[in-house]
């Protein structure tokens, strides 16, 4: 829940009075608010939590962290689309029950 994921800023737009970036997280692109990181420019890497960039980071760190988070399966939940999140909720149990007491459901 409190995980911030590194991504690369590919484009910066102004929407209303918000500074919005298109940020690429290893292939998944999201709209991200850049208001808290005025120093971040196109081509920079930043860590992002729930659509908000919090801090600029260097490319090497970003790529390593992204690789580690992916290997740990920590990206899926943070970057899920609404459809993916609903599909996950539909198959709610995170794992099987050890004593079989809930296998009937």
């Amino acid at each position: 829940m409190c995980l911030a994921i590194p991504g690369k800023v590919e484009e910066i737009l102004t929407e209303g009075d918000l500074r919005i970036g298109r940020v690429n997280f290893g292939g998944i692109v999201k709209r991200v608010c850049l208001d808290y990181v005025p120093e971040v420019q196109v081509g920079d890497y930043t860590i992002v939590h729930v659509g908000f960039a919090l801090s600029k980071i260097d490319e090497e760190t970003a790529l390593q962290t992204l690789e580690d988070f992916r290997a740990m399966g920590m990206l899926d939940e943070e970057l899920a689309s609404e459809e993916e999140a609903l599909a996950r909720a539909a198959s709610a149990p995170q794992s099987a029950c050890p004593d079989g007491s809930c296998s009937a459901k």
Partner: protein, 375 residues
């Protein structure tokens, strides 16, 4: 362990673990506050790489876990109302209230939406002027800047149909509550890296000084966690109690000041109930006077909520670090991720769910007795 050897820096990790073994002469209990770190520690078997005496205690830093049942019930009641679009992050969908969860409310016809960013909920409010759009603002300091901006934008745009159901909690008061408890058993802390990316770590030196405990700002990857533990153990062995930053590539002492400025404008400190723990004074945020009109609890006067927690559940003891999940009699029996009895089994970041999902059904002592646990 299996995972860690496959990890990119498995060799460096082993070297760090050996260094911890070399410096540790006494038993120490170290608490990682953040649920994301708990998840990473258990998943990567980091606790099993440590010397027998170095015990990781899992803290209350999972926002989904500590959101009070009463607030979940309020969310369900609001989401079920006609004319409401109830927005949430995906991880709240299956958190059980006294009766049902948000996913079931959706199945029964409620308009429940999963959003990536709170700003998506603001957009829904703009596009649906005839509906009331409510965002479930759950989180620690990491998530707060996003929620603060959503309310700020809604106010600036004059939106009358957007509100926030606020469940914001703060790390430093929780740490102080743990440290001031009479049965305190924590010797050192790993501070949550991403919370500190927002808030910095200027709030912690007075706590480290007052309670004589070292605190190390730590990241989430296996090497970050091992480095945080290593630095904490070195301080403990030296008899020092400083606040150290082991996550310099992300965290600055002062944090993100732009975010802190908006947080101070939009929120004010309030007492908050933590599920499984109880009320901790000044441990959360609510909307400030200037933004109170966007408070969903004010807009939807939900009353008559009667919550009932399971008498079997010991999540409060787990959240305070008094017991390990596997020491609870209900763990893995009456209480599983499919049928969670309480806070810490609810979220994948909860200590009980992490233990369950990564097969920690037997206690550390039993593991040690078989010779399988420690190196």
């Amino acid at each position: 362990m299996k995972y860690l050897t496959e990890f990119r820096n498995g060799e460096i990790a082993q070297r760090m673990a050996r260094e911890i073994h070399a410096v540790a002469t006494r038993p120490w209990k170290i608490m990682e506050v953040c649920g994301g770190q708990t998840h990473s520690i258990i998943k990567n078997g980091i606790d099993q790489m440590l010397p027998t005496g170095i015990e990781m205690i899992h803290g209350p830093g999972c926002p989904v876990c500590v959101t009070p049942l009463e607030l979940i019930d309020k969310a369900l009641a609001i989401a079920a109302q006609p004319g409401v679009i109830f927005c949430s992050f995906g991880d709240m969908l299956r958190v059980p209230g006294t009766e049902g969860d948000l996913f079931q409310v959706k199945g029964a016809g409620g308009e429940v939406r999963v959003v990536y960013s709170p700003l998506d909920a603001v957009e829904l409010a703009v596009k649906n002027p005839d509906k009331q759009v409510v965002f479930f603002g759950v989180g620690f300091e990491t998530t707060a800047p996003a929620n603060a901006m959503s309310v700020h934008v809604a106010k600036r745009r004059g939106l009358k149909n957007f509100s926030l159901l606020v469940s914001h909690v703060l790390v430093p008061p929780a740490i102080e509550a743990i440290l001031s408890a009479p049965d305190r058993r924590i010797d050192g802390f790993l501070l949550a890296g991403h919370v500190c990316s927002v808030m910095g770590y200027w709030e912690y030196p007075p706590l480290a000084e007052k309670y004589k405990v070292p605190m190390v700002v730590t990241g989430f990857e296996p090497l970050d966690l091992l480095d945080g533990i290593r630095r904490c153990v070195i301080q403990l062995e030296d008899g020092r109690h400083e606040v150290e930053n082991a996550y310099e590539r992300i965290v600055k002492f002062e944090g993100n000041q732009g975010a802190q400025k908006l947080l101070a404008e939009v929120f004010e400190v309030t007492d908050r109930a933590w599920r499984g723990i109880g009320v901790i004074p000044k441990s959360g945020w609510r909307l400030s006077e200037a933004y109170r009109e966007f408070d969903a609890e004010e807009r939807f006067q939900i009353s008559g909520i009667h919550t009932a927690e399971s008498p079997l559940c010991r999540s409060g003891d787990v959240l305070r670090g008094s017991i390990k999940p596997s020491e609870c009699a209900a763990f893995g029996k009456q209480c599983t991720p499919r049928h969670p009895l309480g806070a810490t089994m609810v979220s994948s970041e909860g200590a009980c769910a992490a233990y369950y999902n990564y097969g920690r059904f037997i206690s550390a002592e039993e593991l040690a007795a078989t010779g399988a646990a420690k190196q």
